[in-house]
Structure formats: C-alpha cells, structure tokens
C-alpha cells in the first residue's frame, strides 16, 4: 500500500479486453458489486496479480469504494495483492498431506528453489504458498504448480520438477 493517493485513469489502467470481460460478468449479476471477485480474477489472470492501480480502477468500474474492493481482494488468499512468480506453487500442508510427510517434501522444495512460504525465486519463476487443502487427500501429498495438480509427491518427483532449477537459472 502506498502513501500517496494514486490517480487512476480507468482506461489507461485496465485493458479494453479486461473491461470487456468484466462487463460480461456484470451482465450476470443484479448488483455491480456482485462481480467484484470475478473482476479481480479477470485482472489477475492476465497480470498475475492485482496492483493498487488495478484495484482502484476495478472499484471505480463497479461503483465501489477502494476500501470495499480492498476488503474483498484481501479476504481471499488467492487474490494476490503483491507480485508473484510466473507460477504459484500451492503446497498443501493440511492433515492428510502432513501425515504423508509434506513437511519433508516442502523442505526439499525450499532447498531446490531457495525460497520459503510467501517468497518468490530470484528468477521470478515460482512463488511458494501454503494452502489448507486441494481436495485430493487420496493422493497426498499434493500441490499445484500453476494450474497443474501434482499428486503423490515424493523426493524423486520434487527433484524431477525442481532439481535443475538452480542450474537452469545460471544458464
């Protein structure tokens, strides 16, 4: 959050395509504020995260105050109000995964990527976040990398996925 008020010119912040997509959502809801979450997702899908400028532009487009929009954006863990890497790793640390030693697997990820929860790799490829459940307990431990659900994690899989990360970066 910045100290200075930010002047937001709606047109220069949101793309026509984004506005078009938001307007499509608006047509499905009786109140403009009903499209708030979708609007945030639309912008995040295209930019990876929601900046202050975007937040205010969306708020204005939906006749909401920045405070209301911020309330919604910050309520949901998966709306990112800070820049994230190209792919977000949503790592489940809930009970089934924990029983299956997700802690050890997480340590492996951290070792390969040199990041802890909430951090992004220096090459900006990955951001690691914990998540309470991915609904795949039968295949625990699990995580999502970007849009892909990866199940039955073990050290070998982690190595396969991230083992060359540091080398790749130095290339």
């Amino acid at each position: 959050m910045t100290q200075q008020p930010i002047q937001t010119d709606l047109n220069s912040v949101l793309s026509h395509e984004e506005i078009h997509a938001i307007d499509a959502e608006l047509s499905h809801v009786p109140y403009k504020s009903g499209a708030a979450i979708d609007a945030l997702k639309i912008v995040q899908e295209r930019r990876g995260w929601v900046s202050d400028d975007c937040l205010m532009a969306i708020a204005r487009h939906l006749d909401m105050s920045a405070e209301q929009m911020e309330g919604i954006a910050t309520f949901y863990n998966l709306i990112y109000r800070r820049p994230v890497g190209e792919k977000v790793i949503l790592f489940c640390d809930s009970v089934s995964c924990w029983i299956c030693d997700c802690d050890g697997i997480k340590a492996k990820i951290s070792q390969y990527l040199q990041i802890d929860y909430g951090e992004t790799t220096t090459d900006n490829r990955y951001t690691l976040l914990p998540v309470p459940c991915l609904g795949a307990c039968d295949r625990a431990p699990v995580m999502m990398v970007g849009d892909e659900l990866i199940t039955d994690l073990d050290d070998a899989r982690i190595e396969l996925l991230f083992g060359t990360h540091n080398e790749a970066r130095t290339d």
Binding site: M1, T2, P30, Y31, D52, L55, A66, E67, G71
Partner: protein, 918 residues
C-alpha cells in the same frame, strides 16, 4: 407481552426484543461487544452467550447468542449455567490472545468496554505465552488516532461508518487473525461523523486524537450537561474538563435529538475554548489603537463613566444565550436593539418562525424524522448545515427495508439479515439543491436548480399536490411519491438565504397536510440560538443595517458575542466604527469586531457559563458550566447585569441570579412561560446534595494546584446551578437535563448509558429534557408574499456553499477544524470550469459589488446552470453576498501564501495565521 425465565426469575419482556435487550432491560449484566442499541445485532463476537432450555425437562440446554435470539413466551434461559459462564470467559480470553496489555498508555483505559467486559466475565489470568499480532497503523487525519493492534474484530466501526453513516472509506480488510479495519491507504477519513468511532469502538482502536495530545482519564474529567453550539440542531453533549482546559466532548444521549451520535463539528469544534486567542482580560483601546488590559473593577469603573446618562444601543447574537440576549434588549430597550442578524438572513429567519408558528404540519424531532418514509429536501446540503439531521435521513431511507423485513417476520434488530434482504432498496429521498449534496448517494432523484428555480419548482409541486396538473413528469414523480407516503417529510432552511425556498417547502407541506396529518415540515436554523434570537425579536427592533445608521446618535453601543464583520460588508462596518459611538464588545475570543471596540469584556464560553438555546424545532435547552470561568472572565449575563446597573437601569436592578433572569425572561412573553421548566433551578437537591460534575474517583483534587501553592484552595462553589464542582453527591436517577456523564458500577465506558435509560434505546429514566417553546397554532400558513427573486443577469449567480468544517464561526477557530476547512473556494461544475478554462485548484478572481477576491476552484458534480458556489463563512469570502451576480476571471497573478495552517504547527500559528477565520 411474553414472559421468559432467566435463572428461575420470571421476566415480562417486550415482544420482538432479543434476549440481550431483555437482560439489559431487566438490569442483568450480560456482556456484549458487537451489538449496539442503534445498530442492532450481527452475532459476530459470541460474547453474549447464555443457555437456552428446550422444554421444562431439559436440564442441559444449549448455548445461544443473546443478541440473535428472539424472546418467545415461556422460554427458559440461564446466564449462570457453568457452560455459559465458561463460554463467555473463553471468548474474552481468546480476544486477549492478541489484545496488547497497553491499558496504561491507551486513551480508552478507564472507559473501555473491553476492560469492563473482561472484568465482568471474570477473566484474569492470561495463559497464552506466544507472540501477538501486530499491525501497521494508519494516518486517518487530525481527528482520529488509529491503533489497530487493540482490535477485537467486533465490526462495529465498519457497521457504524459504512452502514449507519454512509461512509465509504473505512472497511474490513483481510481475514482471520489478520483482519484489519482501516482505509485502503493512509488519509483523512471522509465522513463528517468519523468522531463517533471513538465511542463506537469498544476498545482503543479509534481514539480522539486531539484529546490524546492533551489527555486525562475519564475519571479525572469534570463534566457537565451541555448543548452543542455548532448549528441549530442543539445536540446534547458532555464536555469534559481538567486543569482549566476543555479536554474533549462526548455525545450526551437525548432520545429525541442526537441519540448516540454527534457530528465532527460538535465533537472536535470546541477546542477554541482553550485557544491562545481567548480573551482573558478586559481591555480598553488607547488612542493609538492598542488595548490595555485592565481588571474587572477598572473596566466597570470606566464603563460606568461612559454609560452614565448615555444613549445606549445593543446588538445581540444568535450564538449567545437567550438570557444574555434578553437582558441586553431589556436594558437598552427594544427600539435601540438589534438581534444581530443581518437583513438578508433575518428575512428568512423571520419567515421561518412565522411558518413554524402556524403550519398544520408536524415540526418533527430528529427521532420523528427517522420514521419518515418519503423525504424531500429543498435547498439544503444538510450534512453541512444540520449534520445530525442528515444522519437521521440515512436511517429514514432504510424504512423501506424495515418494512420488507416486517413482511418477512424479521425483527429490525437482525441487522445483517435486514440489509441482506433489502440490498439497495431505499425509501424515496429527493434532493432539490443548487449544488452537490452529501446525501446524493441515497437520493432517489437529485434535481439541480438555481435558488429561485428551487422556489418555483417547489411552488409547482405544491400546486400539483393541491390538484393542479403536473408541469413535468419530474413534478409528477415527486408528488405521487410524497402523496403515497404515510409520513412524508419536507426539509428546507435558511442556508441559501432565500425565504422563497422556505415558502415553497412550507407550501408543499401544507398541501400534503390536506390529506395527511402525519406530514412533517422541518426547517434548519443556521446558528445555535437563531430561533431564540428571532423569538425575542420585537417589532421595534432595528435591523443590523439600521443599527449602523443609528449608531451616530448613540453614545455607547454594546455588542454581545457577535463578530459583525461576518454579517456586514466592509463599508457598513467602517461606518459603524466611524460613527463615534463607544463600542463595548463582549466576546469569548478575539475577532475582527473586537478589534474595533473601545472596550472589550472577556465573556465566559459555553463551557464556563450557563444559558438557554432554542434549537431549530423550537426546543429550549439549557447548557451548564463545565468549569468555572478563569478569574477575569464572566458569563455575558453577569457582565450585562453589571453594565445595566451602571447605566441606572431600574428594570433589571432586582436581578442578581441566573434563575431570576430566567424568570424575568419567562415573564416577558407567553411563549417563554415554561422557560423555568427547561431545567431544575439552583435549589435542586438530590438526597440533600447537588449533582456532582466530578466522578467519585476524581484524583488529585487538592493537589492539582500544588505546583502553584501548597495551600489547598476551597473547591469553587456553584451558586447558580444544580450542579457542584465536586465529587460529592449522586450521579443517578436525576432529571435527564442534569446528567454530566454516564457511569455505573461495572460499566465505566459510555455503555453505562443503558443504566440511565428507562429501556434499551429508549427514553432516559429522568424523563424528557427541553421544553418546546415554539408551538404552532396549526391554522395554516398565510399565503406567502410575492417570491423575492434575484433579477436575471449576465453574471454568475453566487450561491453559498456550506461546509461542516469551516463555515461556522467558533468551531473554525479550533485547530483541527481549521485544518480540515482548508482554503476558501469557488465551486463550479465541470462544464463551467471548462468554459472558464480552469481546473481544480486553479485560482479565479471573483468580482462582485466592486470587490475582487481570489479563490481556489473546486469542481463539484452538480452546480446549477449560471451559478457558482462560494465557501460560506470563510474569511476570504466574507465580502460575497448570496444571490449577487459575479464576474469570474482566471487569476494568473496569484501566488501561494505561506504554508497553510496545520494543527500541529503551533509555531506557524504564532507567526502568521493563514487559516480561514482571520
């Protein structure tokens, strides 16, 4: 009425109430946080837990939330059941996980609802040893201090700020234990009611910033029942004092007027009482224009010489008490007296009085206004001219949602459910003004018209309501909406300084009255005692302008608490000064009129004196001194009695005490007959004692002045009021007019109020307070004279734009209000600004009546065609006259002055005052 059983005790309770209300009404202490009597229940804090039993044989019961459970006949509950007691303690313990143990440095300490509830549930030992959450606090402007770590996430702040007061820039953010209440980014809170957060927050997240900088504990404050002087509404306030300084103002509950909430002008606009510019000594002006300070006796001696067999005139004031105005008029005689209101305003005020004395419509209290189901506002930006009324209208538009809830069988206190059901359904509110109003966001329709067009629009609407065909679809829409309402409310007032708008409003109300006796008509009054001054007016009175002409014939002119430079143009003011008459000015604070006086007498402020004010609805209310005036100051009524005696006046010679002055005033006209019932007189005793202004824990009474002298002075004795400058006596069960502060065992916060209420959210146990002195004959208003209009011109028509912070004289002398007032401005709509090729913040030369003033451009959403608004009551716009034509030219020569005044910048204040009031 249903009966319920609580721990074996059978209680008769009010149908539809929830159990929490029922418990509080029964005097049972059931702790709570998120519930608020004016805002209902959301069941979020889980504090008011108790056990409900299913049937007579149920011995286990189940935990329910008191605030979410409606009473039903025969229901059985327990507060004392072990699991309920443990549950309530566990809730507080869980809140304490993150609540800092910083009570000693917290401004809420000693009047903290969280402290009270923690003690009430018996939670003492903290078991949690981990780290507490910490948050970043925000800068929220000069009024409110933010300390987010203390938050217990009850949501009351957001519910008040957004749901109740219509603010948009404060809200809940994030979730779980990261929940945060604040703005999206640092900045000044926009709501004119932000100060109520101080009282709404159950702990110290939002505290009174100016008070924090000059702090005393509640138990160390000396308080008195008082009336806000900020506008004509007359909200009840409870100012607190220590060390001779007015420390803070809290809301003082009045069931019919302000309820639990006041505006920020009322709460923060009184620190002028402590200002360096207060007049401490009498002063006599030398030939070279310098004032020499003299003591009371010397001032009286000199005045005696001047007044002996002199021809004396007097100018009263709509911000001085009824008694002081009465004394001055009685002393100098009605034909040598002016009420101190300029002609342009007097015309509207007099007309207003005539209407209220004859209308068939109900002249409503704010409580009644909240029940309106259709509202029309003519010509007023109420949030800036009668803020508390605007807040009431935000509740009135919810009547539609309450009706929807009733249909569904949903109790009105089910706040979240009712709001969810109603979404944005609102009762109709129509705003017909010349420029943007702060209620536009809840208006069904806004209409932007020049002042004369507003009057014409109103006239057409009244004609339609009397059966004539509508002139436009818009008129038809408003007419059918108002006619369909059960309790329509028409609001107008004098802020545009045009009586034809008031006439139009009255005509609409009268027309509605033909079919609907529940029609309400409310007219705002500009100053705290405008109605009182108008009621005192005598047919022989001089107008203010007339007094300027008369001055040459007078030897002495006495000006009572009135800065005439705010009302007269510079030429007239100079004429008055040049008239050769000796001017004696009584006032509380230095101003431009005082500078012209030959003698200045230091008057006590509202916080150091007593008097009666008559509000916009004609309700007379008494304010009492919070602390004795500093040594050389006297209340104006005492100065006037002394001066009258010097001049040999025999009529007032018998009066020495305030109660006698009230009696004399009461005898002066039939309308004032019940003036001595406004509040108990000085002889009032409760169990043999006066009502104490100090709490029973007031500390250091004999040590406060030890730095000056170790001899313990006697406590000041109050000979004039039923209150004592003392902690002896009982603050309980007294008449409602005499409640200096609320406190009850176990209830140190302002929630102790419920112990003073006859029932939750109901009237006070001490009965009504205030007396209606303005009673309508209900004969109907006379046909208004020909509407006085402004001649059409090629020039821009100037319309006064009122600002809550800046337009009122005395509050604008408080540092924080001055900071918020900002620079004087000229308000234009975007189209006009484009035409003149100016943008927000650019300067325009406003040329009117031969004068030119440079003002900052402010772009507003709505401004009537051909009109330009000027910030009313600001020093820079003093020469501008409402309705006058003006030429607007780009000001390219203008250069910014020294840094503008900010509250904390004492040094720059001492050097040069760039504020709007000098």
């Amino acid at each position: 009425m249903p009966n319920i059983t609580i721990d074996g005790q059978t209680l008769e309770v009010k149908e539809g109430d929830n159990i929490l209300q029922a418990c509080l009404n029964a005097g049972l202490d059931l702790p709570y946080f998120c519930w608020h009597p004016a805002m209902g229940s959301i069941g979020s804090c889980r504090q008011c837990a108790l056990v409900q039993y299913q049937n007579p044989s149920d011995e286990r019961g189940r935990i329910v939330m008191g605030c979410m459970t409606q009473v039903t006949d025969g229901a059985r509950f327990s507060l004392d059941a072990n699991n309920a007691v443990e549950f309530r303690e566990a809730v507080v313990e869980s809140l304490m996980l993150n609540h800092p143990h910083d009570c000693p440095v917290c401004a809420e300490g000693g009047e903290c609802h969280l402290q009270d509830m923690t003690v009430m549930v018996g939670h003492r030992d903290r078991r949690y040893r981990g780290k507490k959450n910490t948050h970043r606090n925000q800068y929220l402007g000069p009024l409110i201090h933010h300390e987010m770590n203390r938050c217990i996430t009850c949501y009351r702040c957001e519910r008040f700020y957004r749901d109740y007061a219509g603010g948009t820039d404060l809200g809940a953010q994030a979730s779980r234990d990261r929940l945060y209440f604040g703005r999206q980014q640092d900045g000044i809170l926009e709501s004119e009611f932000s100060g109520n957060l101080v009282e709404v927050c159950p702990t110290g997240v939002f505290t009174d910033k100016p008070f924090l900088a000059d702090f005393s504990r509640k138990w160390d404050l000396q308080s008195a029942p008082s009336i806000c002087g900020g506008c004509g509404v007359g909200c009840n306030i409870a100012p607190g004092e220590r060390y001779g300084r007015l420390k803070r103002v809290h809301n003082r509950y009045h069931n019919d007027i302000n309820g639990y909430f006041i505006c920020d002008r009322g709460r923060f606009g009184n620190s002028y009482v402590n200002a360096d510019q207060r007049i401490d000594y009498a002063g006599i002006q030398d030939a070279d224009g310098r004032f020499t300070a003299v003591d009371q006796a010397s001032a009286i001696d000199t005045a005696g010489v001047w007044l002996k067999s002199a021809k004396i005139g007097g100018i009263g004031s709509p911000r001085a008490s009824l008694e002081a105005n009465f004394l001055l008029q009685t002393w100098v005689g009605a034909d040598q007296f002016s009420s101190g209101i300029a002609d342009i305003e007097r015309a509207t005020v007099d007309r207003q009085l005539q209407i209220l004395q004859s209308t068939r419509a109900i002249n409503p209290s704010i409580k009644q206004m909240e029940l309106a189901d259709a509202v029309l506002i003519l010509g007023e930006d109420l949030t800036h001219t009668a803020a508390r009324v605007a807040l009431a209208l935000r509740q009135a538009v919810r009547n539609k949602s309450l009706a929807m809830a009733k249909q569904m069988g949903l109790p009105s206190w089910q706040d979240a459910a009712v709001r969810n059901l109603a979404q944005d359904a609102l009762s109709p509110l129509f705003v017909v003004t010349s420029y943007t109003s702060r209620l536009d966001d809840i208006a069904q329709r806004t209409v932007t018209l020049a002042p004369d067009e507003i009057a014409e629009f109103g006239r057409q609407l009244a004609a339609r309501l009397q059966g004539e065909p509508a002139q436009s679809p818009l008129i038809e829409e408003l007419a059918s909406s108002l006619a369909a309402a059960e309790r329509p409310l028409i609001i107008s007032g004098s802020s545009m300084l045009q009586s034809n708008i008031i006439d139009a409003g009255a005509a609409i109300a009268e027309a509605l009255c033909l079919d609907n006796p529940q029609t309400m008509l409310s007219l705002t009054a500009p100053e705290s005692n405008t109605v009182g001054a108008a009621m005192l007016a005598h047919a022989n009175n001089l107008s203010l302008e007339g007094m300027v002409e008369r001055a040459v014939e007078l030897d002495v002119l006495v000006i009572l608490e009135n800065d005439l430079t705010r009302r007269l143009d510079a030429v007239s003011m100079q004429k008055l000064v040049d008239s050769g008459t000796k001017i004696i000015a009584l006032d509380v604070i230095e101003n431009a009129t005082v500078e012209h006086a030959n003698m200045v007498l230091p008057a006590a402020s509202f916080a150091e004196s007593q008097g009666t004010l008559i509000n916009h609805e004609g309700r007379a209310q008494r304010f009492f001194p919070v602390f004795p005036p500093a040594e050389q100051r006297l209340p104006s009524w005492q100065w006037l009695l002394q001066l009258a005696a010097l001049s040999g006046n025999s009529q007032l010679a018998a009066l020495t005490q305030f109660d006698q002055v009230v009696d004399a005033c009461a005898a002066s006209q039939p309308a004032f007959a019940h003036l001595n019932e406004v509040a108990p007189d000085r002889r009032f005793r409760d169990r043999g004692q006066k009502i104490p202004r100090q709490t029973h824990r007031y500390s250091g009474r004999t040590a406060i002045n030890a730095g000056v002298s170790v001899h313990e002075p006697q406590q000041p004795v109050d000979h004039e009021t039923p209150l004592a400058f003392s902690m002896e006596g009982l603050n309980r069960d007294q008449p409602s007019t005499l409640i200096p502060f609320v406190w009850s065992p176990g209830w140190n916060s302002n929630h102790a109020l419920q112990k003073f209420q006859a029932e939750v959210d109901g009237p006070l146990k001490g009965g009504h307070s205030g007396v209606h002195v303005l009673v309508s004959s209900a004969n109907g208003i006379d046909h208004p004279g020909a509407a006085v209009g402004n001649a059409p011109t090629d020039l821009w028509q100037l319309v006064p734009v009122h600002r809550l912070h800046g337009s009122e004289e005395l509050s604008a002398r408080s540092d924080e209000i001055a900071e918020l007032a900002g620079d004087a401005f000229i308000a234009l709509n975007a189209e006009t600004a484009g035409q003149l090729e100016v943008a927000e913040g650019d300067r325009l030369k406003v040329i009117a009546n031969g004068d030119s003033v440079s003002l900052a451009v402010k772009i507003v959403d709505r401004m009537a065609v051909g009109c330009a608004g000027y910030s009313y009551g600001y020093a820079a716009t003093r020469g501008l006259i409402a309705g006058a034509g003006a030429d607007l030219q780009r000001d390219t020569d203008w250069r910014p002055p020294q840094p503008s005044l900010i509250a904390t910048d004492r040094q720059s204040m001492a050097v040069d005052r760039g504020s709007p009031h000098v």
